[in-house]
């Protein structure tokens, strides 16, 4: 019961603030609502007893990436941006994409209706999940992990090179 209420409150919070992210004119307000969305997702992870994932979500997305978002937004001249009309001349493409997404979602719900269980942690989940994730990443999926990190390194070096070329 407690978990059910918890889940619905957090899910509603995530969805509503996600809507606010795209409807606010002021980009700083959008960023704050995005932070609320990410935070409620982190709390949902906690409810699923995936504590490591929740902590990493907070550290990386909220403590790292969103700070840089704010940093960049503050450097941009906001007054002009808020007075400009937001460019929404792509109604057709956007509508089509939204419809496709809606159809996908409905299909998933339709096919998955036989197992309508809410996300709930398996009773054995309270294991040291940091170790489990470490073992999974560095033993079972070592090659994909390394490829991903090399990709990130390439992106980083590329960014440095572009910034250095005055």
């Amino acid at each position: 019961m407690f978990y059910l209420v918890n889940f619905y409150v957090l899910a509603a919070l995530a969805v509503i603030s996600a809507i606010f992210v795209i409807t606010r004119r002021n980009p700083v307000h959008s960023v704050i609502f995005l932070i609320i969305t990410l935070l409620s997702l982190a709390l949902l992870y906690v409810q699923l007893q995936a504590e490591f994932l929740a902590a990493v979500q907070i550290i990386l997305y909220i403590g790292g990436i969103m700070v840089l978002f704010l940093f960049v937004i503050m450097l941009v001249n906001l007054d002009i941006v808020t007075r400009q009309a937001p460019f929404n001349r792509q109604w057709h493409v956007a509508g089509l994409a939204a419809l496709v997404l809606l159809a996908e979602l409905l299909a998933v719900i339709y096919w998955g209706r036989a197992t309508p269980t809410l996300p709930q942690a398996p009773p054995t989940a309270l294991q040291p999940n940091t170790e489990l994730i470490g073992i999974t990443l560095f033993q079972n999926y070592l090659l994909p992990f390394e490829i991903a990190s090399v990709l990130l390194l390439v992106a980083m070096i590329g960014a440095v090179l572009m910034a250095k070329r005055r």
Partner: protein, 441 residues
């Protein structure tokens, strides 16, 4: 050792028990922390004053002991000003975020083996993650004020915090490698099991953690976000009254939080110094000695006060304080179970106070860095040394685990290698003084 709050458990209804007991502990931590924070401000003014051959606050209560209460009242009653053009919602939100981030982390700090609100198996990650949210208070407060100096302070703060968080993270990693767990209680227990505080085998990591902690809490010599000679008061220039006091509270609570993290990771948490040496067991009477000394100090200073009638209340208060301290000292000496129960909290707080004294001492000693110096220190020295330390800590652990070498010895080989790297880095030619064009680096 059992949690003293568990005594209450049978008296509470079963449905509410898992909520009420933590709430009670949270209340105790919150109140205690607020008191500690109020008196750090007093201690800071007093210590700085004595370092500069002044007296500091002396008027409100004996030796100014009631000054924090007077300050709090003044801040509560002051007019609350919101500048025109400020984003009022974010202006309200920012100081609240700052306080919230600083206080929430304490839920996971093991103050003693019998006093910890909750122990999560990723405790350290949570504490670091939540305390990194405090930066939003600074950035949003600086931005929403709609003023130049706060915005500059906020930008400086964002850049500084993001840079030093990397070094901080690497410093934490070496403690994690040694203890093999992320649980805060587990880290202290690992130090008990090894019989050595991690500061004695990982001094470089401890040093980096300390410096990064000063930078993370915007303290001198890294207090550029609120450099008063350049930016008026930095990000909280436009704040006044109660909102300003929230920032103050958040900043000092963050200081206590980083000190608590450092104590837990490197200074053995709740354990007394040299716990494995049995002949130092009499150190457990330290609380008695401390309170007895406090009582003695109060009496001596009461004797020194003028006999004039307008000093009567001050003298009475000081005597009352001394009497209270004496009662505590006698009580601890007479009741061994109580003395044993407070050991953990006592040593933890003593170590945290040592850290806080260090923070204040640095403020009285060091001049402020220039911004490019701060960035160069962070990226060119701290982060490479931190990475090297993590690497050589791993090497030391392999020597210990696989080759069966001595624990402290193999880790010290790693530390010496790290120091070599640091020497090489320091020996590099200094990059030239910044020109106007180079300041963006």
């Amino acid at each position: 050792m059992t949690n003293p709050f568990d005594i209450l458990a049978p008296y509470l209804p079963d449905v509410l028990e898992p909520f009420l007991l933590p709430l009670l502990q949270i209340g105790v931590v919150f109140l205690g922390l607020s008191l500690i924070v109020a008196y750090i401000v007093y201690a800071e003014r007093k210590i700085l004053a004595h370092m500069q051959v002044r007296l500091g606050p002396m008027r409100v209560g004996p030796h100014g002991l009631l000054q924090p209460i007077a300050d709090g009242l003044k801040l509560l009653l002051k007019e609350d000003i919101i500048p025109r053009g400020a984003d009022s919602f974010i202006f309200w939100l920012a100081p609240v975020l700052s306080v919230m981030a600083a206080f929430t982390g304490f839920a996971l700090i093991p103050f003693a083996d019998n006093f910890i609100v909750t122990d999560v198996n990723v405790g350290l990650l949570f504490v670091v993650g939540i305390s990194s949210l405090g930066i939003y208070g600074i950035i949003l407060g600086g931005w929403s004020s709609n003023s130049h100096y706060p915005l500059l302070g906020a930008l400086r703060s964002a850049a500084q915090l993001v840079s030093y968080e990397v070094a901080l993270g690497f410093a934490l990693v070496s403690a994690l490698l040694l203890s093999g767990t992320l649980s805060m209680r587990g880290i202290v227990e690992a130090q008990i099991a090894h019989g050595v505080w991690f500061v004695f085998v990982q001094p470089v990591a401890f040093f980096i953690l300390f410096v990064a902690a000063i930078a993370e809490t915007n303290r001198n010599p890294f207090d550029l976000p609120e450099a008063e000679s350049e930016l008026v008061a930095g990000f909280h220039t436009e704040y006044s009254g109660f909102r300003f006091s929230l920032y103050f509270l958040g900043e000092y609570a963050a200081m206590v939080l980083v000190s608590s993290i450092a104590v837990t990771l490197f200074l053995g948490g709740w354990t007394r110094p040299f716990q494995s040496w049995a002949w130092l067991d009499s150190l457990k009477y330290m609380p008695v000695a401390l309170f007895a000394f406090a009582a003695y100090w109060c009496v001596v200073h009461e004797r020194r006060m003028p006999r004039a009638p307008e000093w009567r209340w001050q003298r009475l208060m000081l005597l009352g304080l001394g009497g209270g301290a004496a009662v505590l000292a006698v009580g601890f000496a007479a009741l061994p179970p109580v003395l044993n129960a407070i050991q953990g909290v006592f040593w933890f707080l003593i170590k945290v106070c040592g850290f806080l004294y260090g923070f204040i001492w640095f403020r009285g000693t060091f001049p402020r860095y220039r911004f490019d110096q701060l960035m160069r220190l962070g990226w060119h020295y701290m982060i490479p040394v931190a990475i090297a330390n993590t690497l050589f800590c791993g090497v030391g652990l392999v020597l210990w685990r696989s080759l069966g070498w001595n624990f402290a010895g193999s880790l010290w080989i790693g530390t010496l290698l790290t120091l070599l790297v640091a020497l090489l880095l320091a020996g590099q030619t200094e990059s030239p003084e910044p020109t106007l064009a180079g300041q963006g680096d």
